[in-house]
């Protein structure tokens, strides 16, 4: 990737965050308030009302939601981004991977705030930092690549089938419940759970919980497998975007 792309991506990310902050009264406070409200909702429904009586349920839920929301927002924003910029694409030649990348980076900046908040809450609950925190670095990097991969793939298709935008939120909602974000997958038979582990998000959230809640090193084999899948899908997504770029500009306005 050329340096010029990087400059464009970084400055666009800054512009995106800055514009978003200017669009509301509370500005960037929303980056914390909105996900916090979301978490409170899940807490209220599943911990208080449904009394999901699992041990450590609150940290379990918060870690899961934090890592899930990063993925989810990256995919839903990044997936729409190329379609939303079609008018710009008709005027100037640009590497289109820029658009989903900008959305994902902007969501990553917001995620950083939530992650910091999460750590503070966990420490307050008595889950102290440990040397295993170093494992968070690869976990975060792999999740970033996986998020970008899915966003690229969705983004590459969206201009052809804009109807996808009505479906994507629902699909993500279902995937969330199947990813062990809210309910633990441990209660299911190991044979069945193995199938669920094909979903990279399950492995990534497992790894995050291992580190943050149990001071355990993550399952490196699983993480390695997810890394491979993520990079393969990322390459495929980037390839599709490049390949379809000449066709996007010929779609009806």
């Amino acid at each position: 990737m050329r340096l010029y792309w990087l400059e464009l991506i970084l400055f666009s990310t800054y512009a995106e965050l800055r514009a978003e902050r200017a669009r509301s009264y509370l500005g960037f406070l929303w980056w914390i308030i909105e996900p916090a409200m979301n978490m409170a909702t899940y807490y209220l429904v599943f911990a208080v009302v449904l009394k999901t009586g699992q041990r450590d349920y609150v940290p379990f839920l918060l870690v899961g939601l934090t890592f899930w929301q990063w993925f989810k927002s990256g995919v839903s924003h990044g997936g729409l981004s190329i379609w939303q910029q079609l008018n710009l694409i008709r005027q100037v030649r640009l590497p289109l991977q820029v658009f989903p990348s900008v959305q994902i980076l902007a969501d990553t900046v917001k995620f950083a705030f939530i992650l910091a908040l999460l750590l503070v809450i966990l420490w307050a609950y008595g889950y102290k930092p440990d040397v295993t925190y170093f494992a968070l670095i690869p976990v975060l990097l792999v999740e970033l690549v996986f998020t970008a991969a899915v966003a690229y793939l969705v983004g590459a298709m969206m201009p052809f089938v804009p109807d996808l935008r009505f479906v994507i939120e629902q699909v993500l909602q279902v995937v969330m419940f199947l990813s062990g974000v809210v309910f633990s997958l441990d209660s299911m038979p190991p044979d069945l759970r193995r199938w669920f582990e094909l979903n990279p998000i399950v492995e990534l959230i497992d790894a995050a919980r291992d580190v943050l809640m149990y001071a355990r090193w993550p399952d490196w084999w699983a993480l390695g497998r997810v890394t491979l899948i993520s990079f393969a899908l990322f390459a495929l997504g980037a390839y599709l975007i490049r390949r379809y770029t000449p066709r996007y500009v010929k779609l009806p306005t």
Partner: protein, 235 residues
Amino acid sequence: MSEPIIELQNVGVAFSAQLRMGAPRFWALEDVSLSLPRGARLGVVGRNGAGKSTLLRVLAGILAPDRGKIRAVRVSCQLLSLALGFVPYLSGRDNAILSGLMLGLRRREIERRLPAILEFSELGDFFEQPVSSYSTGMFTRLGFSVAMQVEPDVLLIDEVLSVGDTEFQKKSGDALRERIHNGTTVVFVSHLDALIKQVCDCAVWIEHGRSVMQGPVDAVLAAYHAAAPVAIAAQ
């Protein structure tokens, strides 16, 4: 005149008419051939919907031909686009940087040109304000000032030779004419014969997506106008 830097041979471009499976395509350009020598100032004439703007976007590399051939030496072609990628909530300064990056400038090149942009656009303190607070005139001035910072080998202009209120029109027109007559290769689309004659040293006539004739400005314009009644009758 020297060797052509861009040559189109029987180029056609098709668009999808609708967003559904198996939708028919329509050919905005059917069969265009032309050659653009280095340093030429080529005027494009033709009726509404003839495919002139599509042709410019093919030259800019935005649209790839669906048939025919393009031969080009490595040159940068830029469509003169005003206020490209502007974001309403950002300051004039930030928009200038963002737009410049999209036009292919490096960050430090833009930073170096910011004083020139500020001066040319006459925005003063408004440069640091969000562009959503600008008047139409201010917005146009900033858009033009940024667009003029890019110095492509081939400048593609679609109808716009000057912008803004009366005073700025003269200033922007002068700046653009200076650029045009500075040896830059130019492709200029216009409905106005007077402007084509003034700006261009050769012309091409596009009719229903086909190039009919390329040659000296006067000859092409004469043929174009002579054919007008026939073409209209044929429709």
